[in-house]
């Protein structure tokens, strides 16, 4: 009995995902999460000083990581502002220029993005603000939901000029006329706060600067916390078509019911042909609303026996004066969905100032792919926030990766099945995930076969029946995310040009195997019929005799 109990205990211990040294510990939120300093938009600059309407602006930068902890699921958000003397920081565009970036400390990766100057753009200074966001909402560099200054908190800024000697044609949402509940909304200062029983009425003006009548599509949306999710609260989404007369002005009203406790981003986007105007407003409904401000692990890939720290920042996101009583969980799963590590954040009072929480564990197995998830609950166990990050070693640019392509043999006859295998591995022969383009070229160099956008997880197999001219065929594989390539060659022997392809003839051809089965069946039935008939005849003959 004792042995059984010990065995069960040992089994239970072995089944535990990982040993946690301690439950969550309070820590400095910014020890690992180096907001605004963890990453640099190095050497952000436009290609030229000045552009004309219709030109394409190219803006260059290097992403340079200073985070000790690896960065995953990074995206670069760009905002373009017209900065006229009387109309500063009028946002004319906002977009994600890069997505799914993974970086280790000191990684430096060059990027550029393009932006087309609208055909009727107003001449003057334009400001480019760049932001780096991790996952769906973590602001690592800059705060894109607070775009206005002076100068706000961009990750980096640069400027260019537009020279337009022709007539200006633009639309804009007038910041000066913007109010919430009849109080002027002050862009670039502090966000107003409301209580949870106050309906909101937002007013602004849409202005047509130009002599042409315009049809404008206006989208008005509310986002919970941040619009970077691109998932507005559906019930509040409105879209209008507005016809603006030449130099016309249209009053815009956007009424919202009282919102629940939290922080919100209200976003107006007006578009007409290549003209765009964006207005972003932030407001809070005061009270207790917990949120996760950052989440990560201090090292990746996980290595067996190496202490690893999970870190998070939590805060009350609705206002500065309330606190949030909450608790949470963290969980790490491997590629197969098996739990590697799980732990809890004990119940605590969380203020508006970000509170760091750390957990330490020692992985029992290495992993180059994992899912890190944190859930934050209120005191009634309602989920207040949930974040998932995927760590994938394949996505780090400056790591050793090997792409290989191989075939099952080197010499083929006409009609043989050519089987090729593409492998994508790291320096320790672990599987990597990627996107494969594979193609086969005949002796003339013409592509006769291709597989595109094939997701690979370590290995990809493909086979084709090969026919064609005698000679050397080349099989090429490219991993498109990292621009890696590999190739191999095979030889195809000569033979009858049409080494009897096993294909049927004629229109409406029927599957040959099935045809054979039918033929055999009919033959069998006829034979059986004849046999039965013969026996019957014999029997009848016998009886007769």
């Amino acid at each position: 009995m004792k042995k059984i109990i010990i065995s069960i205990m040992v089994a239970l211990i072995l089944c535990m995902p990982s040993h946690a040294f301690a439950a969550s510990e309070n820590a400095d939120c910014f020890k690992y999460y180096k907001f605004q300093s963890g990453l640099e938009f190095n050497d952000l600059h436009p290609e030229k000083v000045s552009y004309a309407p219709g030109d394409e602006v190219r803006v260059f930068y290097n992403l340079l990581s200073h985070m000790d902890a690896p960065i995953v699921e990074g995206k670069v958000r760009v905002q373009i502002f017209y900065d006229g003397p009387e109309d500063i920081e009028h946002m004319v565009d906002e977009f994600i220029s890069e997505d799914d970036i993974s970086l280790y400390r000191d990684d430096k990766i060059p990027f550029y993005f393009k932006w087309k100057v609208p055909s009727g753009a107003k001449g003057g200074k334009y400001t480019v603000k760049t932001y780096f966001i991790v996952g769906e909402k973590f602001n690592l560099v800059g705060i894109s939901m607070l775009p206005y200054g002076p100068p706000g908190v961009p990750g980096e800024m640069t400027t260019f000029n537009v020279k337009n000697a022709d007539a200006v044609s633009r639309i804009y949402l007038d910041k000066e006329s913007t109010t919430i509940n009849d109080n002027k909304y002050t862009f670039g200062t502090n966000s107003p706060s409301f209580d949870a029983s106050t309906p909101l009425s937002i007013k602004t003006k849409l202005v047509n600067e130009g002599t042409a009548k315009k049809q404008v599509t206006l989208k008005m949306n509310v986002y919970d916390w941040d619009d970077v999710t691109e998932r507005p609260i559906a019930e509040y989404s409105l879209e209008k078509i507005i016809v603006l007369e030449a130099n016309g002005v249209e009053d815009i009203m956007y009424d919202l019911p009282a919102l629940k406790t939290g922080a919100y981003e209200i976003k107006f986007v007006a578009t007409s042909a290549d003209e765009k105007s964006i207005l972003k407003m932030r407001l809070a409904v005061g009270g207790s609303k917990g949120g996760i401000g950052y989440l990560g692990i201090d090292r990746f890939p996980l290595e067996t026996g190496e202490k690893t720290t999970v870190f998070a920042c939590v805060s009350n996101t609705a206002d500065h004066s309330s606190t949030f009583e909450g608790h949470g969980t963290v969980e790490i799963r491997d590629k197969s969905g098996n739990t590697i590590y799980t732990d809890v954040m004990d119940t605590r009072i969380i203020s508006a100032d970000p509170m760091g929480v750390n957990w330490e564990f020692v992985p029992k197995e290495s992993a180059n792919y994992l899912t890190l998830k944190m859930r934050l609950y209120d005191k009634n166990d309602n989920m207040a926030d949930e974040i998932t990050l995927i760590y994938d070693y394949s996505k780090f640019k400056n790591t050793e990766k090997t792409l290989n392509v191989d075939t099952d043999k080197s010499l083929y006859k006409q009609g043989d099945t050519l089987r090729y295998t593409v492998t994508f591995k790291d320096d320790e022969n672990n599987n990597l995930r990627g996107n494969i383009l594979a193609y086969i070229m005949n002796p003339d160099g013409d592509i006769i076969h291709r597989v595109k956008d094939q997701n690979i997880d370590g290995t990809f197999y493909e086979s084709i029946k090969i026919y064609g001219a005698e000679g050397s065929y080349k099989i090429v594989a490219r991993e498109t995310n990292h621009d890696l390539s590999a190739e191999t060659s095979i030889a195809l022997a000569a033979g009858d040009a049409g080494v009897e392809p096993k294909v049927p003839d004629g229109e409406g051809s029927f599957n040959s195997v099935r045809a054979l089965v039918v033929i055999f069946s009919i033959t069998f039935l006829i034979a059986a019929f004849l046999l039965v008939q013969a026996r019957r005849n014999k029997k009848e003959g016998g009886e007769d005799s």
């Binding site: 939120c29 910014f30 180096k34 907001f35 605004q36 300093s37 190095n42 050497d43 952000l44 600059h45 030229k48 000083v49 000045s50 190219r58 200073h66 550029y112 200074k125 200054g149 002076p150 100068p151 706000g152 908190v153 980096e156 800024m157 400027t159 109080n183 002050t186 200062t189 502090n190 107003p192 920042c313 805060s315 004066s321 193609y439 086969i440 070229m441 003339d444 160099g445 013409d446 006769i448 076969h449 291709r450 084709i464 029946k465 090969i466 026919y467 064609g468 498109t480 040009a497 049409g498 392809p501 294909v503 049927p504 003839d505 004629g506 229109e507 409406g508 051809s509 029927f510 599957n511």
Partner: protein, 489 residues
């Protein structure tokens, strides 16, 4: 080709600024800071080799020295009667400063980057946007008034005046932080103490547990005088070095209250919401100068010794360089030159078959080329592969997939741009290549493979009543309906 090895190495500014501390976690070293070193607008004039103002700081690293956290006219924490001010509302956690610039070195309209070449004889221009910057709190985010820029002698003089002013002046009792339920509409000017029209002290919100306080704040930065351009020559290389030291301080014009202890009326702000870092001057109220219980207003203003010390400090130091290499227009780099060296495609295909165009490209020039767009004059096509860039002498391929139809002149166009301008008239280039005609043969009807044998295409096979090229696909019952279908590879 000879490239003159004359480089201009431009030393970058030394950023020097201070950070605020977190009560819980000691100090924070904030890294992201940017500034520019051109204080004199006249320095933004054209320069050529006489690069008296070429200087860029786009990034600086630094760590806060422990000793600047404590002090500043108060006793250290842990000692008795400690009245060191604690953090001002928005700065209650980690606080940082960003100094942005848009300083650009421009050659014929192109903005140069580190490592670029420029053409001998070109006139380089520096272009700088208005200086801008902002203090902000990590995890806030709370906005602050804009940073205002002065020259360092101006700032020093202003600090001196302020200290002297506060020694003999005190604010009236009605001049103090106010509390309301709403935030101020905007930053409000109040220049009593600063007494300078061009320096603005802003009324700024201070969130507290009890509501919104308004305090008065001004964020001031200065640049040192530019050091003279330091030119040293070693063999045929010239090195130019420029260093400056931006210094930033916060003028926090705060008051104490007559109602100490009353949470609704007390601007205990003097104790609870003051920055804890040295570059601070704050005001005091006439009747109840509680700061430090000194009984006299101005007792806790930074004294001039500290001001002098502050101006001598380099708490954060970073040096960046930008190297620009001058090239001779006659002998300089030719630039990138992408040539399509060879193409591979099947000019005759069955109609509707996938047509793969594979072109071998080589950058026969001597400069990195970035491939911007690849286009084909076909109604529908897909770029299966194109390299992002090609170094001089590098070869790669571009693969395009389209569908075979009769086309009289199929043409591919590659738009690319040079990595740098050098002596080139432009950075943008185009290379195009014509493939000639594409003949798309209607799929011949058939009843058997023998019907397809007469065609010019090898391995023709009859599938579903039409002849196909068996080397390009397969005929099989893919959907299991008992009938064969054709599928291209």
């Amino acid at each position: 080709m000879k490239i003159t090895k004359k480089s201009i190495i431009i030393g970058m500014a030394m950023i020097c600024f201070f950070m605020i501390v977190s009560m819980a976690s000691g100090y924070v070293n904030h890294i992201q800071s940017r500034g520019l070193n051109i204080t004199d607008p006249e320095a933004l004039t054209a320069v050529s080799e006489n690069v008296e103002a070429l200087d860029i700081v786009r990034y600086s690293l630094g760590e806060l020295e422990e000793d600047i956290i404590d002090g500043h006219g108060c006793r250290k924490e842990g000692t008795t009667s400690s009245y060191c001010p604690v953090c001002y509302g928005p700065f209650i956690t980690h606080t940082a400063i960003n100094l942005y610039s848009s300083l650009q070195i421009v050659d014929r309209g192109y903005v140069l980057k580190d490592g670029d070449t420029f053409c001998k004889g070109d006139e380089l221009n520096t272009f700088a946007d208005t200086k801008s910057g902002e203090w902000f709190s990590k995890g806030g985010p709370e906005d602050t008034p804009p940073i205002q820029w002065l020259s360092c002698p101006e700032l020093e003089s202003m600090l001196t005046d302020l200290i002297e002013w506060h020694k003999v002046n005190s604010y009236p009792n009605n001049y103090r932080p106010t509390m309301s339920d709403t935030l101020p509409d905007t930053y409000v000017v109040d220049n009593d103490a600063v007494n300078r029209e061009d320096i603005v002290v802003y009324r700024t919100p201070v969130d507290s547990n009890y509501g919104v306080w308004s305090a008065y704040l001004s964020l001031l930065c200065c640049q040192d005088e530019m050091t003279p351009l330091d030119e040293s020559e070693s063999e045929d290389e010239s090195v130019y070095q420029v260093d400056t030291n931006p210094i930033c301080m916060m003028y926090f014009d705060s008051l104490s209250s007559t109602n100490w202890g009353d949470k609704f009326a007390v601007p205990s702000i003097a104790y609870n919401y003051l920055p804890t870092f040295k570059p601070l001057i704050y005001g005091n109220e006439e009747n109840n100068p509680r700061i430090g219980f000194s009984g006299t207003g101005g007792n806790h203003f930074s004294d001039m010794n500290w001001i002098y010390e502050y101006f001598e400090m380099s708490m954060f130091g970073a040096s960046h360089s930008m190297t620009l290499t001058e090239v001779d227009p006659a002998l300089g780099e030719r630039g990138p030159d992408i040539e399509i060296k060879r193409s591979y495609y099947q000019p005759t295909l069955y109609e509707g078959a996938p047509l793969y165009l594979r072109v071998m490209v080589e950058n026969t020039g001597d400069m990195l080329a970035h491939i911007d767009t690849v286009s084909l004059n076909a109604p529908e096509y897909e770029i299966l592969y194109a390299p992002q860039s090609l170094f001089g002498g590098e070869t790669s391929e571009i693969i395009i997939e389209t569908t075979a139809t009769d086309m009289s002149e199929l043409k591919v166009q590659v738009d690319y741009f040079a990595d740098e301008v050098g002596c080139l008239p432009t950075k943008d280039f185009t290379e195009s290549f014509s493939f000639g005609n594409i003949d798309a043969i209607p799929l011949p009807p058939c009843k058997s493979n023998a019907d397809c044998d007469v065609l010019s295409i090898d391995n023709a096979v009859c599938c579903l009543g039409l002849c196909y090229d068996l080397s390009r696909g397969t005929c099989d019952d893919f959907d299991g309906d008992g009938y064969f279908e054709w599928s291209y590879y």
